[in-house]
Symmetry: C2
Subunit: 153 residues, 2 copies
DNA sequence: GGCTAGTCTTGACTCATTCAAGAAAATGCG
DNA sequence: CGCATTTTCTTGAATGAGTCAAGACTAGCC
């Protein structure tokens, strides 16, 4: 029923949950919404965002939701070394990430190499590889320009 | 002076430290030795290994050494999502890693793609990329065979 | 409307890693 | 060689993202 505001971007998060065989709960819808609105955010930011509409959600509910949504593939988690977990809603396309060493900002990278890039490594040590994760390390525009923003993705 | 045992593999860790402009201390030599002997080990294993020769080192000394050695490029740290930090001494060649999802085992992967693989992404969002890190996720031979070893890298 | 399994709340807890202050040791120099 | 300076190590406490557990709640189904 929830009337969608005038904005064009209409995701039916309830349907997405149902299709994934997950119960539709307000925390989950709110988490999905938050991550869609602000990709690459960490758990704390997501908790804050969720609490704008649901002031009483527990952090545990958000953690649970994030795990459930990640498990069914509606979200994807990113954990660059030295930073806390981040989440994004862009799933299914094998895209990669650029991470800023100094402020932690993350940008999406559509990998130039067409197919799965370095997956040509499978058999090597008896490992059964099913995913290649690529992280591009560097500095974002702001940080390489000298000004070091205070870690606001 | 320390007489090298009969074994061929003779790394002069003291010289490596001096060349890196680091003071030569017993904890640092022991950490370097341990990581060379058992690559991809986590901090706790390294602490245990170091204490075999230096029973009284503090964990903080090992943490400090690992950071110092990593900072000057004598070691490299790996932190796959969901696992604690690991260290290896193979540095300088841009090789990658296969990580077992279930036991955490890590294997080195010499990337099939000759040059820097997906570095073709530089300019994209104003990021100045200087390193591409590739993690191949999957299952090691043991884990894909059914037996799940108890996380012993 | 009532059942039941799956979720959420609450609050305690883990544990890798970091912080801080003083003691100890490494390098350089007289 | 012995001392001064500076870095590193020891000790012990603290941090904080994330997890665990027990009971209350509720979404989905009859």
């Amino acid at each position: 029923m929830r009337e969608t505001s005038g904005v064009a971007e209409t995701y039916d998060f309830e349907a997405m949950l149902r299709e994934a065989a997950l119960r539709v709960t307000r925390p989950r819808v709110a988490v999905l919404t938050a991550v869609h609105r602000m990709p690459h955010s960490d758990t704390e930011s997501i908790i804050r965002a969720v609490r704008e509409s649901l002031p009483t959600v527990s952090h545990q509910a958000v953690y649970d939701s994030l795990h459930a949504l990640t498990a069914v593939g509606l979200l994807r988690s990113i954990q660059p070394s030295g930073f806390v977990a981040r989440y994004e809603s862009r799933v299914g396309d094998n895209h990669h990430h650029a991470v800023c060493r100094s402020c932690g900002r993350i940008a999406d990278i559509d990998c130039a190499v067409g197919a799965a890039p370095c997956l040509v490594a499978s058999g090597d040590h008896g490992f059964l590889i099913d995913e290649a994760e690529v992280v591009h390390w560097g500095r974002c525009a702001d940080c390489s320009a000298g000004n070091t923003p205070s870690a606001t993705p």
